[in-house]
Structure formats: C-alpha cells, structure tokens
Amino acid sequence: MNIEIRNGRVIDPQNGTDRVASLFIADGRIAGLDQAPAGFAAVQTIDAKGCVVCPGLIDLAARLNSIEAELAAAVAGGVTSVVVPPDADPPLDEPELADRLVHRGTEIGKARVLPLGALTLGLKGERLAELAGLKKAGCVAFSQATQPVVDTEALLRSMEYAATFDFAIWLQPQDYWLARNGIAHEGEVASRLGLAGIPVAAETIAIATIVQLVRDTGCRVHLTRLSSAAGVALVAQAQAEGLPLTFDIGVHHLLLSENDIGFFNPHARFVPPLRTLRDRQALSDAAAGGLAAICSDHTPVGADDKLLPFGEAKPGATGLEVLLPLTLKWAAAAGVELRQALARITAAPAAVLGLADRHLGVGAVADICVFDPAAEWQLSAESLRSRGKNSPWLGHMLTGKVRTTLVGGRVVFTE
C-alpha cells in the first residue's frame, strides 16, 4: 500500500536529515523523500503537520510477559522493534522456543520481535545453549539477561565459542558475589535506610573481567544497563583501545538516582541499582556524547509484586510507552538536541544490532514513528496498554506523544 506522510519534520539521525518534508512509502520501504517516485499514487495520506517523523524506535530490552498486550504497547510508544531478553519462563534456551516466539510476534503483526537467546542452558552459567541453532531460529545475539556467569572459565569458553561464529554476546556486568545480597547502591541512602548495598565495584570488577576476555577472544560484546561513572570510564577506555564493545543505558538511570528511593519507594528499585547523582551525570554525558544507546528495560510487574517492602518488591519499571517521552525529558534536562536524542533510541540501537536499513533514506525499511513533540499527557495506569502499570512516573506529566506508527510500511498504530 502506498502511503504519503506529508508536512512533518523528518528527522533521520543516520543520514543527518532534519527538515520539513514528505515521505513516500511503497512495498514496505521508503520510496522517496521530498519527491514522489515516478507513478506513485498514495492510497493513504498522513498529515504530520506539527509532528516529528523519525525512524521507528528500537528498544534493546523489553520483556513480553503477555505478548499481545506488550507488543501493542510497543507500537503505541513508537517502538517498532523490541529485543527480548531470554529470562522468560522458561528461559529462551532452545531453538524451538525462539522459533515459537518469533512466529507469535509475526502473527500479532505489531512490533518486530528480536529475541536474545540464552547463552547457557537455563541461564545457569554452566553449559552452553545451542547457539547456532538459536541463531537460525531468529535470535539476534546471546545473553544471560541479569543472571551472572559465576564461573570465569565458562565465560571465557562461551566467548571463544561465540567468536568462532562471530556471534555477539550481551552481558550485564554485575559481580555475582558483590551483588547477591544487595538491594540498593551501597551509598548514603542505603546506609540511612538500612538497605543492603551493592558497591560500584560489583560493576567495575565484572567489566574489567569482560574487557580482558574480549581482548583475548575477540568476541563482540554488548554491555547492558551500565549504572556507574566508573563503569562508563572503563568501557570508554576499552572502546578507545579499539575493542569490539558497545553498551546501553536504561532510560530510568538517566533520570533517577538513589535519592529517588525516598522512603522506600518500590518503584525506584532497579537492577542494577540507581546510583548517585554523580553516576547519573556520567551516564547522561555518555549518552549525550553518542557513546551509548538508550533502552527502556521494559519490565512489567504486577501490582502485588510492587506493594511490598522495598527489598521484597520486584525490581524494574514499565518502559515501552514511556521510552520516547522519557528520552525527550532527559534531552531537555541535559541540553541535548532532538536529533541526537532520537539517535540514541533509533540509529544507536540499530548499530548495536548491525541493522543497516533502519533509517529514512530511499530503500530503507519503512519502520516509522510519527509523534507530536509538544503534546503533554499525564501518565496513569489506565493510559498504559502494557500489563505492567509499574512506573515511578505515574501521575507525572510527560511531553511527546506518538500519533502514528508504521512497521514495514503498514500502519500498526494510530491515536
């Protein structure tokens, strides 16, 4: 179906485009910018006056506990591709499970589903899962989600094996021993509230180990959810050395700190924990400087699992529908211009995944998000399509609202 999106401010970070233009879509791809291709007749015209037209958002971490609701939430948030961590129940450690997930995603026909296969069976960090088989079933890379590989030899061998096939491994750097009993950043707030602490060393020790093994094996590694200034500095140093390392930051870690725990607010419990204002600043600088992708780390949690004392509440927040407005909120606070901010949730995650056709140039896949950058709305449980109503931002006013989302040239969401 031929679609014209006209009058919108087209922002394409990858190609450096930022101007009011018309976009022409045919056969699921971008067929023209400014100029309609010869013989183009639009079946549908979308007036994007006052709106931004950008590539569809790519979320590097979203858990799909109830897949239909969550994929509907994704496109309502302008997210056209979701990377799904393997810590589902059961863990995604068999090709058949990955195959079924991809198939189900296609059937629902909303956002694209990009699963991460489990690196080890049952995410136990012991025996390798069938990586090649998982890859064939559609897994884009391999990960332990938040589970550690305690045995360093198992980590080394799995990186050697992945490097053999040029598979990428995604790891959340957190030392098992230093993090296992902790529930909050080991700092002033945890000391005051009597919460068991997780020191920054839990992150830096894990990064140092991984960096050394990347140096030895040449395995491509993506580090997920960095939380500390010291961690960012270590990764930046390794990147400068030319090692094949990328990393991402959860959007909540750009906006919140340990202080937001207040009086035991369970919505401020995250893995890794929210750290100090200084750490938050370093994460923000890394994102603003183009070093990292931003993701939602979407974790739908039932109300009963949050209405518990801080240490017993499940960590994480709903994210798919707030990734865009929270990224805009961060950009406004950090003085980051819109094109650079959108790059963190479009071009940067596309680069992590090695997807070369997720932009708005002619021939690229027509995954598109049209949003009103000035629209204000109040976040409420009712306003969320996700089953996860857990957010530290409930009741807050957010700016930026998605009007239309296209996946593969099809309109999958309109407000």
Partner: protein
C-alpha cells in the same frame, strides 16, 4: 520533604523513624513519658487514655522482649491488646502483608505495633492506610530490618536525659555492629536531632555502614580512642551469625578489640553511663563486670521503655 509519619498539621500520626522528626516532637514524647513514670509506680498501674481502643501487636519477626513491653504499655493505657505472631498464621498461608492489614482494619484495629524483617515495611503499611482513607489508624514501628527501632531510640534518649540532664554538652559513643543495627540508626538520628555535639561510631570497617559521616557521626576503629572522655557508651548486640562469613574471625577476637571491659571503661569520663538495648552477649560485646557494674543503666532502660512506649502510643492515637 514529605514525611509520611506526620499528619497535615505536622503532628505525629505514626512513629516510623526518628529521621525527619523535629526536636519539638522528640521532646514532647520524652516529657510525656516522664509524666507516665509515676503511673507505673502506682498500685493501680492504669490510665484510661486508650480505653476502648484496640492495639494489635504484629510481629512478623520474633521478639519476646519488645512485644512484652509494648503489651504492658498498651495495657497501662487501658487498651485492648491483641498479639499476632504472623510467622505462624497468615504469612504461611500466602496472604500478603497488606491483606493482613485490611483484615485487621475491618476488625476495628486502632493501632498497629509492627516488627518486620524488611526495612521499610511499616512505611508500606502507613502509606496503605493513607491510600484507603484510614487516617484514624496508626502505626508504630517496633523494628524494621536494619532500618529503624524508634521507640528503642527514644527510650535511650530518655535514659540519657534522666542521667545527664542536658544533651548539648555530651560526647556519645555507639560501639559494635552498626551496619546491621536498627537501634544504632535510630539513636544516631535522635542524638543529632536533640543537639548532641559529638556522636561517635566505634567498630571494625566490616560492621560500619558507608558514609556514616554524612549522618553527622565521627568514625573510630580503635575502641580506646573511640570511648575516650565519653559521657555515654551505647553497646550493641553482636549476633552470632556475623561470625559465619568474612565480617569477623571470632567472638573472642571481637571481644579483645571491641568488648567493653572495666579497663576500657576507665578511659571514658568517670561518671559515664553504659547502655545496651539487650539482650546482651556477656563476654562478646560486654564484660560481666561492666554489665553488672555501677555505671550500667541497662535495667533502668527497660523500665523507661514502658513509659516511652506509653507516651508514643498515647500521642499517635490522639492525633
């Protein structure tokens, strides 16, 4: 900053933590407790302040001593007291904490005394009561995780005021396992709020929380230096399980460095008082000669504790 334990008039509706309470409220509690001391000395040890009210002792973690003193205090205020040992009832049936609260509110509970292993649990209950519009039901924290034990903190302040009169000239040392101690956190907040100029924390690095200086505390690793010239020494209980990991090598090595002996006590001021929240481990954190000595005020602490808990319950139930 929003403080969930104060009502809209700034009066104490729940006692969840000493932190964030103004000096005025701490002094009000201590003064009220003083007026109740006389009640406990009477033949008929009762006042009718909570007559017809129901006080529920919700102990999600065992504690005979604290529960008993709360029970006595509530009975002296003429309240009906119901003791619930939650380990043995609803928690094992999978009922959530807030389900339990809803049920007890339906039974017309007026005041919950809560002991829980998780830091922050009493906050969750107080916020829930606010959400369901029951600002007539009150919560008193009887110890939550490592976070706070505010009535213990207050009875410690009562004891100090009783023996030392004025807070503003004192040097107070808290010795031992501060990391895992809710008593220490409550004492620190109470002492600094009441104007004690020098609060010291003494212990090995493994038993001290990070950033204690941010709470206005001076840290000492050497006990001889830490208790030198102090007016008040608060000893903390050392749990046996601390010896299981890498926090400490043994009870005897701990006692050698951080146990309060008559020799070490001699370094403090001659009229220094020695306090302990109980139960004591004799020969681990305190020598029997000190525990039973003339400077120990450990048993008076228990007596004052009843008056302080009467004061707290009567104040929150009246607001």
């Amino acid at each position: 900053m929003y403080n969930p334990q104060l009502n809209k008039d700034g009066e104490l509706s729940h006692l969840l933590s000493i932190e964030g309470l103004p000096q005025r409220i701490l002094t009000q509690i201590l003064d009220t407790a003083e007026s109740f001391m006389e009640v406990s000395a009477r033949d008929v040890k009762k006042v009718p302040l909570l007559r017809g009210k129901s006080v529920f002792n919700l102990f999600f973690e065992n504690s005979t001593r604290t529960r008993t003193t709360f029970e006595i205090a509530a009975k002296r205020l003429s309240a009906d007291v119901i003791n619930l040992d939650i380990n043995k009832s609803s928690a094992s049936k999978g009922e959530t904490l807030l389900d339990t609260i809803d049920n007890l509110v339906a039974m017309h509970a007026n005041l919950f005394v809560v002991r829980h292993a998780s830091s922050g649990a009493p906050y969750l209950i107080a916020e829930h009561l606010q959400r369901i519009g029951r600002d007539d039901v009150h919560v008193v924290n009887a110890g939550d995780g490592r976070h706070a034990h505010p009535t213990q903190g207050l009875l410690d302040m009562y004891t100090i005021r009783h023996y030392k009169k004025d807070f503003t000239q004192l040097r107070v040392a808290i010795v031992g396992d501060i990391l895992h101690s809710r008593v220490a956190r409550s004492d620190i907040h109470a002492l600094t709020t009441l104007g004690v100029p020098e609060v010291r924390a003494v212990g090995p690095e493994t038993l001290l929380p990070k950033h204690l200086d941010k709470l206005g505390v001076h840290v000492f690793h050497d006990m001889n230096e830490g208790i030198k010239d102090c007016d008040v020494i608060i000893m903390l209980r050392l749990q046996n399980e601390r010896m299981n990991g890498a926090l400490l090598p043994s009870a005897s090595e701990y006692f050698r460095h951080y146990g309060l002996t008559p020799q070490k006590l001699a370094l403090a001021k001659p009229d220094a008082i020695v306090m302990h929240p109980g139960p004591m481990n004799r020969g681990v954190e305190i020598h029997s000669a000190v525990a039973d000595g003339a400077q120990a005020v450990i048993l008076p602490q228990v007596t004052f504790g009843i008056a302080v808990r009467m004061a707290v319950m009567s104040i929150v139930a009246g607001n």
